[in-house]
Symmetry: C2
Subunit: 491 residues, 2 copies
């Protein structure tokens, strides 16, 4: 048995801790000004002292700037959403440190302790975690992952010491002893998870916990060091810059957009006759989907005045108001601006058996944010892949994702703008921004083209809807939605 | 059979609708400036056209200023929280209109249609709704409740017309026919609910829906009229004013506070010996409660520097970090400021099997808000009853509510303030506000006294903890928490 290492004296600890506390409080003040979030993830075997470490950090840090998260096995509500939903819900707010006491890692290990059969599952879980952490890190989030390392011998010593004293014996649970018995197997699994989730922007740091005082100081110091280096890294990034839409990434999309015929005709009489028929068919397919506990997500995009609102109202007029919600996507609030751009959409993803209609969507990242330079070039270029992954999370879960681009000609848009300006109850719909967007038509066409080329996937296809004729467009939305839902349900 | 009434011509309708739309859009602009929320609740029998009316309103109003809510039968997650939790979660944000398509009323009627046995339940449900609506109305919320009235004959005509046309037959469900058959019984129940929930600030308006055009205009007009009258009413209210703490409402509370002995002694050695024992006992009782799917809510209040943070850290050091969350209550954010003062606390109420520790709480309403004049006198006076009702909602559900006032003497507080100011890593804890609060000691004592006298209830008792000796205070929290939880579980 290895001899216990030299321990830090209480006096040295207190002196160092005091300096560290001052620096950590300073960090928290600065954190309110920097444009990134901090996640501190604590993982490790039972008895490694996550609880005690958490308490030390709670004492050192200003509690108003800390949010603590942990995960149990998923609740019914969490199971009724795509897998990543619960992680997205537990991200710290602006200027706060997220402290992950029991993280996705800890839960995975607990599961492993319960049954050996979980290895295949673990590789899959690790891949999901890797993608999630990459997405956050790419967005500038600082992820500090600490593995609290405790040898089998030290774990045994600690458990026996606690058990020997009647006053502390309650601290040792049956689960602790069980984990101690299968220490080697759990340690191997942990190595496997760490190896497959140790990535740039989300590295693991292994900290030996035998000396509790040294452990606390090391974790505090690690947080400080990584915070400082992230500050420097972020400062070096080029700021966002506009007019970055010089040419399409994939010309095929733009070609497809411009080739769309817009001269459809549909008389009011024909529309009236067909509308009820297709409303009925949509009603049936949506009801079938919801009854089967599938969820539905509609995303509506299109030119200003293309008729998104009207199309959505026709669509929902066939449905029970309790089953769906319409989410108008306006400019992000301050809270949303500081979060990952997908965060606000994750928040509104419906549970199984419900439907959500987004009036504008996450595609803002590759449309307005790209054209107006609200994000950096590397950010919107990365977004195509991130959005595909986001939609795949949904469709893997069973959600049916329907995406619409409502296309009007430059001439028809002008006619509608003028009509709005001359109708008193429509004037509030027109802003100078609409006219500014209109002058950028060429840049937007390139952005829309790339969006169509890079995010039109079999699991989440785009419907390109000619909308110069409003009646035709509304009917087309009903028709294509019914068909896509029926196909998804194999009706 | 009564003859169909004279219907509004399309032309008259369009002219009136256009004027109404202009006024409604104007209302929405003003709504962003007024300090109150608007709830528009639509209820009525099947076929009364809630869906169609909803669509008209969605077309008339700016969708970015509307949130639509409806209620299904409660989900597992909703059932794992106190009854009112789901209503609190679905209140509109700042400057928005909440449109309740399927409200608590509709669900109650659907239930009634399924079984006749629900009448006793309905009286109870109505009482809850009445209290909830009163609380919101007292806070200035405008509640517009519309009952869409449709006679049995008109309902029958409407259903038969829809069924006769193959294109619209899908609009009529089996449930519609069933509701039609038991029209009279449902109508009686609806009358009963309306009668017991028709209160000042939450009146019902019955609107005949046989003429759909007139129906839409009437609802729009009603919303406008009531909005204008609420604007006037709110403008007449006296603004909040400070120094309203002249004397106690109930002197017994102040007497109890001032009589508390603060000279307890507890050596470090004795504390160390007792702490582990009581931590163990607390750990067991909390685990027993959570395993029994009870939830726990701790509220910590006390003088500045009374040691709330330290007491909370000792308390949680005995627990699994996955089981609890600590919620530091800071000054309200803009969003919280515009909401009912209880809203932010409802948000963090734990689900069954979990525990929440509030570091400061909803008692801020009768402490800092009273003393500093952040709310009106009638508001903080009403708050005692509202808070008792809030806690009763929790304890009725099975939540164990534990409340702590940590009491330090004026002298000991001064000593701690000075120590904080002279310790670098504690300086951030001191603000000019702390000194200002300190000078108001007398006013706060009166407020604390009233709080103790008026909210110390058997279901949610106050623990008054002498805290000049930190060790004694921490131990006392552990002891009294263990005992209260054991008593609640009848251990």
């Amino acid at each position: 048995m290895a001899p216990a290492k030299q321990r830090l004296s209480k006096r040295t600890y207190q002196a160092r801790a005091q300096m560290l506390r001052e620096e950590l409080v300073e960090l928290q003040v600065e954190l309110k000004k920097v444009p990134f979030k901090v996640l501190l993830i604590l993982a490790g075997p039972e008895g490694a002292g996550r609880g005690a470490l958490l308490n030390t950090l709670a004492e050192w840090l200003d509690p108003r700037g800390v949010e603590t998260f942990s995960y149990h096995t998923p609740t019914d509500n969490e199971l009724a959403h795509p897998h990543q939903w619960r992680f997205w819900r537990s991200l710290p707010g602006i200027g706060r440190i997220g402290l992950y006491a029991g993280s996705w890692y800890t839960e995975t290990l607990r599961e492993e302790a319960r049954s050996k059969s979980a290895l295949g599952h673990i590789a899959e879980e690790a891949a999901r975690i890797r993608d999630f952490e990459k997405l956050l890190a790419d967005n500038g989030t600082l992820i500090v992952k600490v593995w609290l390392q405790l040898s089998k011998e030290a774990q045994g010593r600690r458990l026996r010491t606690l058990r020997a004293d009647p006053a502390t014996a309650w601290r040792v649970t049956d689960e602790d002893w069980q984990h101690h018995r299968i220490y080697d197997r759990l340690d191997q699994t942990a190595q496997l998870i760490r190896a497959s989730t140790d990535r740039p922007g989300a590295h693991w740091t292994i900290i030996d916990v035998e000396d509790e005082r040294a452990r606390d100081l090391k974790v505090g110091q690690l947080l400080l060091t990584q915070f400082r280096s992230q500050q420097k890294k972020i400062a070096r990034l080029n700021p966002a810059k506009a007019s970055s839409v010089a040419k399409p990434l994939r010309p095929s999309g733009l070609k497809r957009l411009l080739a769309l015929p817009l001269d459809q005709d549909l008389s009011e009489k024909d529309y009236d006759a067909l509308r009820e028929k297709w409303l009925g068919r949509l009603n049936q397919s949506v009801r079938a989907a919801l009854t089967a506990k599938r969820s539905l997500v509609f995303a509506f995009e299109g030119w200003d005045a293309a008729g998104k609102g009207g199309a959505i109202r026709r669509l929902t007029s066939a449905l029970d108001p309790r089953d769906y919600s319409v989410i108008p996507v306006a400019k992000p609030t301050d809270e949303e601006k500081h979060a990952h751009y997908l965060w606000r959409f994750w928040r509104d993803i419906p549970r199984d058996g419900r439907m959500a209609v987004f009036d504008r969507s996450w595609y803002g990242r590759v449309l307005v944010e790209r054209v107006e330079g609200f994000c950096r070039v590397d950010e919107w270029k990365r977004a195509f892949g991130e959005i595909n992954a986001f939609e795949k999370e949904m469709t893997d879960h069973g959600t049916i994702v329907l995406k619409y681009w409502l296309h009007v000609s430059h001439e028809e848009q002008l006619r509608r703008f003028r009509e709005r300006e001359s109708t008193p109850h429509k004037q509030h719909k027109m802003t100078p921004e609409d006219w500014r967007n209109r002058r950028q038509r060429g840049a937007y066409e390139i952005a829309v083209g790339d969006m169509l080329a890079l995010t039109d996937k079999a699991n989440a296809p785009w419907h390109l809807v000619p909308a110069d004729n409003k009646r035709f467009a509304r009917l087309e939305v009903l028709r294509s939605a019914s068909r896509q839902i029926e196909a998804a349900l194999e009706l």
